[in-house]
């Protein structure tokens, strides 16, 4: 056999392998085994006087139809069609069935690196739980927790990212500085007592609640700098942070639901034998669990990254059409009733939520979209949703401006108005870009870039609400 013939056969075998590799049911080792068989068959046919390519064709044919074969493999190895999260996994974890059982797995990983650093995540999670409990034990009042929830827990998340992604020292120093500023502002400002109707002494004041909520948002974004390993200028890295945040929220919610259910079950079961564990659950399990779950959810997102499809974009695909319909229905109802204008005071906050949901649906569908794909029906639905949200919001905004002119400003009104304007600008521009994309004039990348470029605006606004609002509104 000449060298050329040998190379030709190698090419044929390589393309045959590639064809088989597309089948989920066949692992790399299965294909190795089949390839060995194929070559044995080719050898014996060649010994009988056939040329290489003839022998190859006959050998492939005798292996049988690939569809049938892979179906047969799938029946034996049905688990391969479900991608599994391998906890005992080797380096990087999350490699599917392809990492077979034949090659020696090499030297065992050190404990800290195993399972994507589960030990470290759990350790930090316990740390976060203990930090919350420690603050409780030294006698902090409930509003202390409200103010400091983010400051107590998020440093552990930042530490986890620092360990996982090793951001440069400068980035870490910046993050630490941001946490310090937030801690000082939230705890040194002399917040007034709450102005609730039943005015408990421990009620937080309006500016205090606003500062606490916005501090959480701002510190989450700051913590994200550690997630992207300090590369916060890069649009792609920011998109990664967005993806991470969405997945994290989904996992956190799942953990919270299951954890809550289990706690209730435990309380009920212990109650039935006359042991009241409600105080224990309330004082230890829920605060520590809520703090620890932040880390566990973060670990889970990265551990399953390459194994399981992201869930947030799937949810957006399901809910974008429904939400677009809801907005259209709302428009029709508002036109018929004409009472959007004198609805309750909370209207603006409700519409902030509507815009946040629209934005989330938009961004998470971006995050999973193939940028090279042309616009299709889904992009039209998105456009309808965007326009619907913008029109409704403009109506509300005009009405609210009128109210503020009439009754004066308060911290709450200003904060929701500011958020509304920020989101309105974002969505207005997004709708414009979306239209350009639908008409084939704008590259998809520009839509994505717009969203990632806008992230610092949220950070800036949150910082303003935390740092400037309390003095501006007299800590009321």
């Amino acid at each position: 056999m000449t060298l050329d013939e040998r190379r030709e056969l190698d090419d044929l075998v390589a393309s045959w392998r590639e064809w088989l590799e597309r089948r989920d049911a066949l692992s790399a080792h299965d294909i190795d085994e089949l390839e060995g068989h194929l070559l044995d068959r080719v050898d014996s046919l060649r010994a009988a006087g056939l040329r290489d390519d003839e022998a190859f064709l006959i050998a492939v044919k005798r292996l049988g139809a690939v569809d049938e074969l892979s179906r047969e493999y799938a029946r034996v190895h049905s688990e391969r069609l479900w991608k599994q999260l391998v906890l005992g996994g080797a380096n990087g974890g999350g490699r599917g069935a392809a990492s077979g059982d034949v090659e020696a797995p090499g030297a065992p990983l050190p404990l800290l690196r195993r399972a994507n650093g589960l030990a470290v995540a759990l350790g930090l999670g316990v740390g976060a739980g203990l930090a919350v409990k420690a603050a409780d034990l030294v006698g902090a009042d409930p509003t202390f927790f409200l103010r400091n929830a983010a400051i107590l827990v998020l440093p552990f998340l930042a530490a986890w990212f620092a360990w996982r992604h090793t951001p440069p020292i400068g980035a870490l120093a910046g993050i630490a500085g941001a946490f310090a500023i937030a801690a000082v502002a939230l705890n040194a400002y002399p917040f007034g007592p709450g102005s609730g109707i039943e005015s408990f002494a421990t009620d937080p004041s309006m500016t205090e609640s606003l500062a606490a909520i916005h501090a959480a948002v701002a510190l989450w974004l700051v913590t994200g700098v550690a997630y992207v390993a300090g590369d916060w200028r890069s649009s792609d890295a920011r998109m990664d942070l967005v993806r991470f945040s969405g997945e994290w929220a989904v996992y956190y919610l799942l953990i919270a639901i299951v954890g809550g259910g289990l706690s209730l079950l435990a309380v009920a079961v212990f109650g039935s034998i006359g042991v009241d564990i409600l105080p224990f659950v309330g004082e230890w399990v829920i605060p520590c669990g809520a703090a620890g779950a932040v880390l566990v959810a973060a670990w889970l997102v990265e551990a399953k990254q390459r194994v399981i499809e992201n869930i947030a974009p799937v949810l957006t695909k399901v809910f974008t059409p429904l939400f677009a319909l809801m907005l259209l229905a709302l428009l029709v109802a508002a036109a018929l009733q004409w009472n959007l204008v004198d609805a309750s005071r909370d209207l603006l906050i409700a519409f902030d939520l509507v815009l946040v949901v629209v934005l989330a649906l938009l961004v998470y569908s971006y995050s999973a979209r193939d940028p090279l794909l042309r616009a299709g029906w889904f992009e039209w639905i998105q456009f309808v949703m965007l326009v619907g949200a913008l029109v409704v919001d403009l109506v509300v905004l005009v009405a609210m401006l009128g109210r503020i002119g009439e009754f004066g400003v308060s911290a709450n009104k200003t904060a929701s108005l500011g958020l509304n304007l920020i989101l309105l600008v974002n969505l207005g521009r997004a709708a414009w870009l979306q239209l350009g994309f639908l008409r084939g004039r704008t590259a998809f990348l520009r839509l994505e870039r717009w969203q990632t470029a806008y992230l610092p605006v949220y950070l800036g606004w949150s910082a303003v609400v935390v740092l400037v609002f309390p003095p501006l509104f007299g800590f009321a």
Partner: protein, 123 residues
């Protein structure tokens, strides 16, 4: 003559276990041996042997190990496990019963074909 699909499927496990009872082997050689024993009449597409072997491995009836062919290609060798030997003995008893019944029902059947091949199944 082609043997029916169902009969091939039923015979496949005892035949493969029986061949492995002769000694450790690998896929291609097992198929060669089947073809040799049946005069080329008991055949199925080559690839299908491997899912069957994997199923038997899962059931604990065979054990496998990667080795290399004389030319240095990786090759997976299969060996009968003690549990596989027990399964083979059990299957052999069942096939003997079936073979015995058929031999009585067809005392002078259409030649030596049918029962001879069934006996092969128990081999």
């Amino acid at each position: 003559m082609r043997i029916g699909k169902d009969l091939v499927a039923a015979a496949a496990t005892p035949v493969v276990l029986g061949i492995l009872a002769e000694g450790e082997s690998y896929g291609y050689a097992i198929l060669q041996r089947i073809s040799e024993l049946s005069g080329g009449e008991l055949e199925w597409s080559d690839g299908m042997l491997y899912p069957l072997l994997h199923r038997l491995e899962r059931l604990g009836q065979v054990e496998s190990q990667w080795g290399a062919s004389p030319t240095g290609r990786p090759r997976k060798h299969y060996r009968l496990s003690p549990q596989g030997a027990a399964t083979l003995a059990e299957q052999r008893r069942q096939w003997d019963v079936v073979g015995g019944v058929l031999a009585k029902v067809w005392p002078d059947g259409p030649g030596p074909g049918g029962s001879a091949r069934l006996a092969l199944g128990g081999a």
